[in-house]
Symmetry: C2
């Protein structure tokens, strides 16, 4: 990198640095995880399938450009998203990719769409149906993420346990499942699985972080 000269070049270098931090699949994965709530290095490393040292270095890259922040809590270093701007940036990135990259379109059509032929439920729709008590809200994320924050009245059954714990979903209930974000596979799989088991289920458009960022009510804890 040659010494930046003009202020214009310096600015562009800074913008490029932010983009560079986003330019890695594992780091995007970490960002999605942190969007669920504050979490330690070991936690995200395990969830993302990275070694701890590797995750630590990726997190530092993200911190250096201000996309995430960290604080010490005893032995742990807890990382979290810097703020909701970052969610918007990620959403813009997804939107652009979705509209312009043929491969994304192929994946959406081929895999995601096939798993969920019906339209997802919008946030406003779900708010209405929750108010009228007409819906069972299902959070299919791992318990740590549920504990860090979830939709009010939601029940946490991680995807892996869905078959085993089907009895916790009232028969005949109208299920809306959600997870980490718009392309989080968990909710797709959950809806597919529930339908196969004869239940009525749909998917929430995008996930918990977007719900929270929209200023809708959120509950914490009840995860232990």
């Amino acid at each position: 990198m040659p010494e930046p000269i003009s202020p214009k070049q310096s600015m562009l270098e800074q913008f490029a640095a932010v983009a560079k931090a986003l330019a890695s699949a594992p780091r995007l994965d970490l960002l999605e995880l942190l969007a669920q709530g504050e979490r330690g290095v070991e936690g995200v490393a395990a969830a993302a399938g990275l070694s701890v040292a590797n995750a630590s270095q990726h997190l530092q890259v993200l911190r250096r450009v201000g996309l995430v922040v960290s604080r010490k809590a005893g032995l742990q270093v807890l990382y979290s998203l810097a703020d909701d701007d970052v969610l918007e940036l990620l959403a813009a990135l997804r939107r652009t990719a979705e509209r312009h990259v043929a491969e994304v379109d192929r994946l959406v059509r081929g895999y995601f769409h096939e798993k969920d032929a019906l339209e997802p439920v919008s946030r406003q729709d779900l708010v209405r149906r929750m108010r009228d008590g007409l819906v069972t809200v299902l959070d299919v994320r791992p318990p740590e993420e549920y504990a860090a924050g979830h939709l009010p009245t939601s029940v946490n059954i991680p995807l892996k346990e869905l078959h085993r714990r089907l009895d916790e979903v009232p028969e005949g209930a109208d299920v809306v499942a959600y997870c980490r974000g718009p392309y989080c596979v968990l909710a797709f799989e959950a809806v597919a699985a529930l339908r196969q088991m004869g239940r009525t289920a749909r998917r929430l458009e995008d996930g918990f972080p977007e719900w929270r960022a929209a200023g809708l009510p959120v509950e914490k804890g009840t995860g232990a």
Copy 2:
């Protein structure tokens, strides 16, 4: 890059690829130039200070991820932004950098702000003042970019010629200068220069591409 396995990983790879295309100062520069309008390789190369071969390769990187499109016109290959999504993504990137990267803040305060102590004029403000005929709109971009599209009633005096052509700016006029975008240096410099010469001048918030994308009226030609 290891073979992507899960659909989730594949999606993340695609998003990362888009971010990677943005992760280069020269490419961001090219995008800002193309945001002014369609342009050939040689044109953008010269404007960005790159060799033609280098610019060509960068443009192909951008095209591969769908951020720009190209068409042949005789001998030339004309590139342009894929669409206004891309402007939004760039804006989100700038916004995040502005809020989270200390160095950007430093540059904005130190260089850009110092050059323009007063608030910029908002688009809506300018629309109003144009309608009332109370303002001289000054486009300080190079003539090629002006020719490809500009604000109605605007006068094109490239920054470099501003001193020489000061007589074209009516004395006592209320000047609003604009250029390529929110951090385009040209308008900052123009406002500073005009004030030094005793004129009344302010800067339009962001630039021509944002004006056009907001659906406001645009003129073409008159550049030859």
